[in-house]
Amino acid sequence: MDERTTTADPVPRDVYLRDVAGRLAGSRRTRTRLLAEIRDHLDDAAAANRSAGMHPLQAEQRAVELLGNPASLAEGWEARCSRLRRRRRGRAAMLIATSAIASILAAAQHADGHRDPAATAARCRVARSSTAADCRPPGS
């Protein structure tokens, strides 16, 4: 029988995972993946400690200690999430700006297309002797 099952003490791995889970931000999917990786890590580390001759409970406690403070892990995770959010906001702003410029250019081309080409050419001939301002595309 597993020695842990004979004691009422909570399992260090599970306590740690619950603590980390309660602190993590982000989507359920990404949090689930992170917690699965941490669980795997703790299992590997505890197994290595047991192979080195440690008592099973000590082996698990040592694995938890080396993983570090749950608050530090959650801070590192939050820093990563904030970075991702900033990047997404930047991309969204860029997309909006690009769409706005494209709309303005399309409107300008549309307006230009409605002019009489002969009249535009005549105005340009006149402009050579006065100013080039009339030959600029509408809206500029």
């Binding site: 941490i38 795997d40 993983l67 990047r87």
Partner: protein, 95 residues
């Protein structure tokens, strides 16, 4: 840079990366092991590593692998680091 260098040797899961760095550095780095996971995710966000679930020794693990972009970034980091250490060594030798 250390994570990318470790992954250049072979694809690995988080715990194996920590073991690799510990052995390669003869235990020089003392850090909370949990910090590796947000760091790996940042590298993944930047396209420097890829990850996937894989079966290792009968268990499902998230395995990381360096990308072509990661290889280029590592090459740049290596050159920069060598220039830096060369400069420091030159100053120490001079003193």
């Amino acid at each position: 840079m250390l994570l990318l260098a470790a992954l250049q040797s072979r694809p690995m899961h988080g715990y194996a990366i920590i073991e690799y760095v510990r052995q390669a550095s003869a235990g020089q780095f003392d850090y909370a092991e949990g910090t590796i996971y947000p760091a790996l995710r940042r590298l993944e966000d930047d396209g420097l590593v890829h990850s996937r679930w894989s079966e290792t020794e009968g268990r499902r693990r998230r395995t990381y692998d360096i990308s072509a972009k990661g290889e280029r970034a590592l090459s740049g980091h290596r050159s920069e680091w060598r220039r830096f250490t060369k400069g420091v060594e030159a100053v120490l030798e001079h003193g």
